[in-house]
Symmetry: C2
Subunit: 489 residues, 2 copies
Amino acid sequence: MAISIDTFFLDPDSQGTLQAQIQQMIAQGILAGRYGKGEKLPSSRKLAMHLGISRITVTLAYTELLSNDYLTSRGRSGYFVSQNAPEPPKFAPQVKRTEAVDWSRAIGQKFTGGSAPTKPVDWQKYKYPFIYGQVDKTLFDHANWRLCALQALGARDFSALTADYYDQDDHQLIEFILRHTLPRRGIVARPEEVLITVGAQNALWLTAQILLTQRRTAAIEDPCYHALRDVLTQSRCHLSPIPVDRDGIQPDLIEDGTDVIFTTPSHQCPTSATMPHARRKQLLRRARDLEAIIVEDDYEFEVSFLGAPMPALKSLDEDGRVIYVGSFSKSIFPGLRLGYLVGSEEFIREARALRASVLRHPPGHIQRTTAYFLSLGHYDALVRKISKVYQKRREIMENAIQEYGLEIAGSGVFGGSSFWMRAPENVNTVELKHALKRNDVLIETGHPYFAASAGIMNYYRLAYSSISEELIPEGVKRIAHEIDQLTRH
Amino acid sequence: MAISIDTFFLDPDSQGTLQAQIQQMIAQGILAGRYGKGEKLPSSRKLAMHLGISRITVTLAYTELLSNDYLTSRGRSGYFVSQNAPEPPKFAPQVKRTEAVDWSRAIGQKFTGGSAPTKPVDWQKYKYPFIYGQVDKTLFDHANWRLCALQALGARDFSALTADYYDQDDHQLIEFILRHTLPRRGIVARPEEVLITVGAQNALWLTAQILLTQRRTAAIEDPCYHALRDVLTQSRCHLSPIPVDRDGIQPDLIEDGTDVIFTTPSHQCPTSATMPHARRKQLLRRARDLEAIIVEDDYEFEVSFLGAPMPALKSLDEDGRVIYVGSFSKSIFPGLRLGYLVGSEEFIREARALRASVLRHPPGHIQRTTAYFLSLGHYDALVRKISKVYQKRREIMENAIQEYGLEIAGSGVFGGSSFWMRAPENVNTVELKHALKRNDVLIETGHPYFAASAGIMNYYRLAYSSISEELIPEGVKRIAHEIDQLTRH
């Protein structure tokens, strides 16, 4: 690859000669690793024109670098970075800049320090990854996704791919969601009531910004999805954790003065509890009494292999009180980053304005590809395939868990992709996790899901979405063995 | 397409018989336009199993709908929505929901009502679109973009495409930016100092959240990019508009107590002024005296056909005081939504945490496709092609503007894609815009760029990025004619 001429600048404040400056620029580029060995330099004529200096100055600089073996020349084909040039440092190049800014003062609002745990990016290197929320290569319908992406890249879809939508969405995707996705959840909605988001995380975040202030109270499930708690903590509202039982959040315990209730009725996160019909009606009544808004995160309803899923809480909403959060990232793949919000027009209008301010719109090409993947039926086929495989894995998990004497604290009525597990009280699952990691087993500790003050350390989650079935028994065995070791201390 | 069985639910609270409920569900689906004519219904056996009721109930419901001509049967192949079924309403289906929520109370923070003008989504229907920031179909390198997307969709890149990166970015894209993009702007940075964003809009938004609070002051250029002003207004900081002259923002006028300075030195938005070297040094000195942070939006530096672009302000930054905002959306296509932030590690760490909370990460596939498009040299070729075409268009524009006696208020020293125009003082460019729209000409009014109180109504912007050269003279002629009409009143 040729080194671009645009990387060359003269510094008007430089003390040295022009020739020295050019030599320095090139040598620094090589030393910093920006110019690789064998890369071609601009011709002396072009560089001279670009910098507005005489060609002889550039030629002299090149000749000097040639004699230092930074460069070589190959006759008429020009100058190249020499194979004998000094090695760039293995460490990151030191920038001459000295940090003169007091960042502790300059940063007005901090966003680091949330409770969401760091997840292992190298999880694929582990043999027994009981981790949640990553895609299983062997299940994803790569070929059809590629075909849909190709179609969306075609000349006919050019404008969908490239245009600035301002605050709008791809109408094909919106139409599919209205006609096919939402009816499956018992929801009827109009286009003005739907907004596409950069994943469900973005949908929850937008909702929190609009509904909450420092003077408002949000009820969350306890335990609850830690990333949601971080989002709400950042909004500085008052947080009111409501205990979850085997039927999900307990409406009677929601405090007076609550403004917004965040809930996961299909599949409580992380306990996997499914809220029964009567409890749903009770929750809606409680919200009406409180004049509160309910935010329903309907994650993972698709993976329902043990029975038909119940319709969404939103389908029972006669008041316009429920804001519904859906996602394609979970069931297609998490790197897709595509979710949606369904709610009253007044609310969606604000969410659309905030989204436009924060990021304008999710990339058009991603929206259109997903619209094809959905409308050609590949999505349904994928969900069926995943469900079938998960069902098998779940059976094997259940058997292994029973065989090795582990305790299930919660599991989905309709399906899902994980078990919520309880270790004996004196087991600290952070220790357990580290010990297992050394034994090639990845588990997820449960404490980040609980309110910080709770100090509950003996829960963990085992997902079967990324581990192949033949490895499950040995993985569970290793967990049981490690728990056994820890309880003996 | 077959109607999915998952769209059928029984309502436990329903008063009618099971048969009546099924009939109603299907009829409502047809009437609401959710089930299209000719679509196949689930078999009575499958639907009965799905709902957990007897098959005869479903059969009786189907038979009833058959006799009402909602459905037809094609012998053994099953039931279909009849071609004679009632037409779905042309208006949006009325949901039975009555809005019982007082949204004026429920919405804690409003985000609608910014000053950013609504842009015509149907701009391609106009013959003379002097509009800014949309892509010209005839210039974009569609074929190579498609090849890069295909490569990124290949099996080898599967994990880049699908994984949840958590808070990370595609390392290939980061590496290219560090090695090739930033050096062209005279910037040396380490991976910890760069964050990928969902377009430059997202980069500016993240920066504002981190650096500003209600107690802090942001200096902005006047006139300035209206979407930036909206972002800052939402952050509720104190806004201090600083007049722009032909060299850009005037450092002497930046008030004491300013915490953050937002500036566009390469190409002032919207006047296109390029800040000279001496002014840049002066701005950096002023910021150092104030202990203020500078946010440099380096938009449109690529389109530099009149001379080599100056290095970025960031390249002169010895203190770590400048936060640099770059974008690929502008020069590849705006629907791409891909930009980046460069700044001190402490700052980028907070931006990364906030981004993770708001949306996790820009889609992996988009990042990887862009990395290929850049590293295979297609991006440079595209920029060269665009620059050449824009140069020609600009010449034609300049000639036409002179011929028809319009006044240029600002234009880029190095290039760019638009002219900043001044109409006579008594011309209201909102009126001008509407009159021109009726004559197939689109222009952008200037007043949203000025502080609201200014009431400056006689500026407008003419871009040549989306209009073909042969149409320019007639378009300019029409503008001149309309201005002439308006000044006569």
